[in-house]
């Protein structure tokens, strides 16, 4: 395993929630990254952001690591959960709530319900 793959593995395994994104949580630099960061922020989820634009090795390495060609990529407890489309669908279906419940990850349940109500 290359050192970049080892570095990514260490990152996703040592933080509960990790978002590999373009830009940072405070300054997303791509619509899709911004949407996932917005969902996590809206649900008050504590997470680690990794700016793939700041490091080309990570930008390519993360795609090899997950066998997934795009960024953003969300990881919960070391497991790849999905990109923007999947996270959006899971938020609306309630599956993201279940995933967080299963792993004991704190989030704002009423905010999640409000998002679903608005997108009814």
């Amino acid at each position: 395993m290359s050192d970049i793959q080892a570095q990514i593995k260490e990152t996703v395994e040592s933080h509960d929630v990790v978002l590999f994104m373009k830009g940072s949580k405070l300054m997303p630099q791509c619509g899709f990254s911004s949407r996932v960061a917005g969902i996590l922020g809206g649900l008050s989820v504590e997470y680690t952001d990794v700016n793939c634009l700041a490091n080309d090795a990570i930008r390519q390495g993360i795609k090899d690591f997950s066998d997934w060609p795009t960024i953003p990529q969300l990881y919960v407890k070391g497991e790849f959960v999905g990109g923007c489309d999947i996270i959006t669908e899971m938020t609306l279906s309630g599956e993201l709530d279940q995933l967080f419940d299963k792993h004991g990850i704190g989030y704002d349940k009423s905010a999640a319900e409000q998002i679903r109500a608005q997108n009814g």
């Binding site: 899709f32 795609k63 060609p69 795009t70 960024i71 790849f80 990109g83 489309d85 999947i86």
Partner: protein
């Protein structure tokens, strides 16, 4: 080089001959595709979308990076 709807559809049709496929988007960079195929039954969303990305053979933000973003909606037929 941008990748237009008919190219995306052709690549998807080759991989999913019996699927219901709709591709939208005009600018060739931010496109969308819906693929409804029996082969997705029982697959997780990630597995379904990985199959679709595989059908696009490296056109997705790969070395030639035609497609910056492809919004995917995949499911098995109801």
């Amino acid at each position: 080089m941008t990748m237009y709807a008919n190219e995306i559809e052709a690549l998807l049709r080759a991989q999913f001959p019996n699927a219901e496929i709709t591709v939208d988007g005009e600018d060739g960079m931010h496109m969308g595709a819906t693929v409804v195929d029996e082969s997705f039954r029982g697959m997780s969303r990630i597995q379904q979308q990985r199959a679709v990305y595989a059908a696009l053979k490296g056109k997705m933000d790969g070395p030639d990076g035609e497609l910056h973003a492809l919004q995917l909606r995949t499911r098995a037929p109801e």
